[in-house]
Symmetry: D2
Subunit: 471 residues, 4 copies
């Protein structure tokens, strides 16, 4: 669940919206807390009681909202919240979401976004030509500008007009004077679902947040669906539902929490299946199976079951790693991985070890880890990866390193094995990957493994250009 | 010079722009420091080296910029700066000036403003109707939106088009990719002048800032004039110069620093003259003249000269008053004035005292002061005010209490005397006031003394309405 | 490894000393980082280069030392460090260790302490009678005062004279002008060992810190042994070695990190053995075994092996819990445990579940956890505890709740089962506990399970009395 | 009154003690606020309600106590307070006064000190030899250690025993479980007086603090007198009253506030007299007299009266100077004095100017000021100093630069005149100085003007030596 790992893609963001309780800000806070793994850079909540009230800050949710005072200011019975790991827009405070606006025509407005628009550069340029002034460098901000420029009469129609102009991946929550809105892109890339707790509606990125709130899952928001929550309950506005659907398969492999249910499936079940198929594909004579904790735990357990090798806790993860870790200046360069993981010599010593890892990006951490495992006495180290080689970046909301840094883009499997200095290396096959996930009336996006992008990317470089002249 | 006094109008703001030195941010800082009396709530500097760099903070200039680190980030050879006491826009951090924008069409843009627009509510509403989204509640922000919506080709023409739509009082500095701009409203209400220091141009609200920078005064910016400073030096764009001129007479009475030269006159000279005429108008048998330090010092000295009464330092001002002063909770309510001023008993005891004060707003502080002077042995206390009674609020950038709170609006002079519990009270006459100032090809705005507003006020309530739905 | 768990005894402290490298402060920092589980309340390092340099702060090591600036000030080639969870002395900043003193006779002196003296109240009173003034409320401070009052000639002899007057449990590190000192109490209650990294000596509470530093274990410091490290290497001063030895068995059950080696044994091995014997003692028909992560993981794995029940990850631990967690005010009281642990429904649903927990203090968290597991579909919940019932507080450095709050002190096993609402409950037997640990020429203290205190406690209430008049 | 001036001796400290009101901490705060000129480096208050409560911080009183929360923690009806400018002891936080101790024998104890002991090094060494451990590097701390080592039965007797061992200059306040104590050294060097406000006793360094509290002056504490305040009111313990008395004449010249009454005289009266005698001694043909504000104002006014030259406000002091002022890095070195003072050209231009300054230490600021006055048009500049040349450092609590830096120690008057580049220079004569002050049954210390030290200095270098091994 912990996502501060070295050498993993950075998650996108987590969003929530709460409707109908004086505890709205508190519930939004708890939901963000449960969604912490989706973004650790900043957190923010906006509530509404006729006026907008906003509290944001850098860091973890529990640190940003460590003061009751903040909740006293978040008055009202509606709220939306956001955990951010920036995908577009630099990391400056100004970009902290939810974004808020006050406009004579549409009234107070707040928005939070998980995903990435693929034509935001083009739209922004058009809007600026006609006099729009942007206050942030986020792609999110084009939505309120499009809404502000719409001539439609109702807020619902204005929002739909705006969404139809956008391409890309998004799960959005919005707060207006008419109620709460939530929307999911026509391809259903990122998860978003609705829950209910007594008379309170809760929109969240993943169901693990509903569990914390003790809310019942009502349903997922459909691809291409806008929903509105107000005193009449939920009203659905399907605005573009005939598109093929491409849910992000990496959510199931790594991003989402194992106790969540997304894309109509249990994340835990999928990961165990990935491990089992991996074991079938890559049998090897060994003594024990260990995981790279915590994100590979379930796959490693699956591997252990199918291979009949013992599951052991050979690596201990240090959960006290802070945001800033000061590295000693001299001759201590190689201790990076040991700060995060310590090997248990009593378990590894003299054993042939299978190490299960969910994915490899640059390979730098894993290389150190293999060395560390060997130094603690392992006779053999066999690396098993519960996903295929990553060869292409994501334009739909995940933050990978550049293509040049992806190890599988530069080296053959054999060469990666040599680089990692392991005794054998096996990646899960594409077929094995697709066999692990359930059909849910929907396809999956596997662009990071294939380089085939199902949704058009109109401005690949667009996501960087707004930042150039930034204050 | 100290303006944190109880019961005085709050000043408006101070602005500066520096062009042509790697020390630009440092010089802007010094200029703001010299202009501290014009706004103590927040301070900010934006510099430019192809990109905008912004540093703002709450509090005094020396506190906001107490760290060399801040200057390292303010790269570039152009800069603008702002001291703020908010007149419109709530005090939230978001409103800290200079405001910055990045726009595809006009590039990076920063603006700082001293004054108050009188039709900003109307213009904002129009802009919002056509899709503009505002990020602040300041009236200042309508300028960049008007510029962004302009179809003119050059930035200069766009700025002029924007300024022509605005009414009210303003001295503005702007930073664009083409150079620095500065403008003064057609009525010349607030001061603004240009200085030169070696090859560096310095635009400042008052000449005292040029003195600190060791810059020579070049000239005042004319009412209705926009100037641009770039590699070709100063270019003037007179955009509306045929309007009658109404410089704020209160700048001379109280706001400006005594060592400044504004509206073509020495502030110090005017204040001494006010004191002299006041003495002529209100002779009284007394032993000594004291001032309410520091703002009334010069007028008191003038009074002393003309009346042949000894000038004494009967009140000591405490300059350590911080931004927050914790008042004891119990039976200590009446000590407020003594925190700021202590009476010197050795001077007051047994004497008939003339107290010179520059202006009276609510009268609450002066009432306590008169009591304090009496308690230190004064036999008689004669209050002399070096300006006429204040009867109306200002819509051009000064922050008075509401009309209902202005004592001279509610009470006759006789009743004010009774309220203050002084032995005699005299306000300077209108004639005396106008006799003290020099004709400078320009009239004066005396609306606060007369209720006659020379510049139309299209939305009196406008300045409050944007804040209603604020986040 | 994570010790911020609800309803566990609070650990004591971690200490380190580094001798002989310009990186001394950095190595101390890393050692403290590896020992974070022994104290999360404050951290401090003192280095020495002829002068003492001190940096301490509230919070986690990585947060206290998040700034390179702090290391620049920690000059010198010797350093000692301390992680604190206060056992005596209130939590005020003044008490942050290492404590430092400058004395004409003995020069600069710093000390850090893990443990608890059992006669500190009596000694302190005696010292105060003869004129000693204490600056903290810690029991640690009696050591420097005893040293200062000693008439012996050398620092070594002064320290020994001081240690001989003290009873209780302690592992100490000290920094003097003559070198680094480390000492362990005559009963060997708390762990302390020496490692070597190139020419640098490293004293640490547990070997996991040596692993991070890539230092080799030299040996444990013996009970009743003082060692000095200087340019001549290690000099041993056995000062009281004929005492029977009582190592804290709870270090092995819960406190120490599983990858550490203490009391001549692997912690990991002991915990697995505890789980295995527990399985032998308490067989039950069930489908899966889960642990309360992370501290019970190894015992649960041992249980699973011996019982032939599948080990599953049925509870997910949230590692983002901050120091302060704001609880919503209304009707949300029961969500505490879900903030820390989320159940994975896919795993628990319809299953008979064995839950392995390392120890039960109050039982409050475990009760909520059982409920949570049931709500996620478990058909049966069988609680297995890998240690005997806790019936008595610790006076040797662990912080339990008061005797009245210990559930096993108030209820029979049957009643605890009813309270927890589980289908069966079994605690490890005393015999099983002792069978799991290796004889190491030393006995074990099991006072918390038996109420029999092997080391005299001269002032049970002493540890609270100094705080009464505290500033 | 403002003492942050460049090139003046730093003041010593201000102290206060309040007895008998639930508002004790609040009154102490106000007293410290009125005494701010005596120390701006840190401030602290300790209150007592059976326990000691302490709040200290760096900076001005109003900044340190800007939060009501701090007062909530300062419970009790007794309090003592301290403004510090360090004279001995480095500026570290640990040294912030009041110092507090908790001791089994004498109970809670707090102390605050204005002055300087002249045998503290010797006493500290003796105390350390017998086992005392010091927590600070202040000379103040020897008092509590001496008290702790005393065998006397009552606290009063213990304090007297301690005071008799000390030589030097001091005004002390102490808080014990028996009541408040205050003491003044046998030579009466620093001021200290008692006031009463309803049933509340107030001990303060200067009467200006009594004025703010609306307390009546009861009397000065006598040289060599210890007083105790408890439920029986004031009890006096004269412990050494037959010594000759040497009050610090510099308190009257510069340190004390002009509205204070110390050493049985009005500060304001003395300063005016100094100015008058200065005028008699140094008549010169000139047009105007100006002061270096604010500390020379009264002397300048006295000079103006006697010389019949007009008093003018030729220099404006900037009161917004913060604690840290960032100086631009390049070619702006000469602007230092202009940051603090701006010249009013309209007043100086074409005039022959007499500048009255209260004292000259290094002369660096005055040199810049003379230049600045000339640049603003003054035809002649005549410097008049209202005290004799400073030739020797102070060992009784004032912080001068070293002897080598005192300009009058290195240069003749003629050469100082050349250095300052003024048209004439006159210092007040010794006779003139002594003529200005009133005999009050007491002599004056004029060591800084004469080099003759009336109180023995046993360890001149002592005040620096404790800091050498400081943490």
């Amino acid at each position: 669940m912990a996502k501060k790992k070295i050498d993993k893609p950075k998650s996108n963001c987590g969003v929530t919206a709460i409707y109908g309780t004086p505890d709205a800000a508190h519930l939004a806070y708890l939901a963000l807390y449960a969604l912490q793994h989706r973004g650790q850079e900043s957190a923010g909540i906006v509530s509404y009681d006729g006026k907008l009230h906003k509290q944001t800050g850098q860091g973890l949710v529990a640190d940003v909202f460590s003061d009751q005072e903040r909740f006293k200011q978040l008055k009202g019975t509606w709220a939306i919240g956001h955990n951010r790991y920036s995908t577009t827009g630099s990391t400056q405070a100004l970009n902290a979401q939810p974004l808020t606006f006050n406009n004579y025509m549409m009234g107070p407005f707040a928005i939070a976004h998980n995903g990435n628009f693929t034509n935001s550069g083009i739209i922004r340029k058009q809007l600026e030509k006609t006099g729009s002034l942007f206050q942030t460098t986020t792609d999110t901000e084009i939505i309120p500008h499009l809404i502000a420029c719409s001539n439609k009469e109702t807020i619902s129609k204005r929002i739909i007009e705006a969404l139809k102009q956008i391409t890309g991946a998004y799960s959005l929550v919005m707060l207006t004077r008419d109620g709460i809105y939530a929307a999911r892109d026509p391809h259903g890339v990122r998860p978003l679902c609705i829950g209910k707790r007594q008379n309170t509606y809760c929109v969240v990125s993943e169901t693990c947040a509903l569990d914390l709130l003790k809310a019942e899952l009502v349903r997922e928001i459909q691809p291409g669906e806008l929903i509105k929550i107000d005193e009449n309950g939920i009203t659905a506005f399907p605005f573009q539902t005939q598109q093929p659907c491409y849910s992000c398969i990496f959510e199931l492999i790594y991003f989402a929490r194992p106790d969540s249910r997304i894309f109509n499936d249990n994340v835990d079940r999928v990961r165990r299946k990935l491990g089992k198929i991996l074991a079938l594909e890559s049998d090897v004579a060994a003594d024990i199976v260990i995981s790279v904790p915590d994100s590979s735990n379930t796959a490693a357990l699956g591997y252990s079951r199918r291979s009949n090798l013992k599951f052991e806790l050979g690596l201990i993860r240090n959960h006290y790693v802070g945001r800033t870790f000061i590295h000693p200046s001299q001759n201590m360069r190689d201790f990076g991985v040991r700060v995060k993981f310590n090997a248990v010599k009593g378990i590894l010593d003299g054993r042939r070890v299978v190490v299960v890892e969910d994915s490899i990006v640059r390979g730098t951490t894993l290389k150190q880890l293999v060395k560390h495992i060997r130094e603690n006495g392992a006779k053999e180290v066999h690396v098993r990866v519960s996903s295929p080689p990553i060869v292409s970046p994501c334009f739909y909301g995940m933050d990978f390193p550049s293509k040049a840094e992806l190890i599988a883009n530069n080296k053959s499997i054999e060469n990666i094995k040599t680089y990692l200095d392991c005794d054998s290396l096996h990646y899960l096959s594409h077929e094995g990957l697709l066999e692990s996930v359930k059909p849910h009336g929907c396809g999956f996006c596997t662009a990071c493994f294939t380089g085939t992008y199902p949704i058009p990317i109109e401005d690949k470089i667009g996501k960087y250009q707004h930042e150039q002249n930034e204050a």
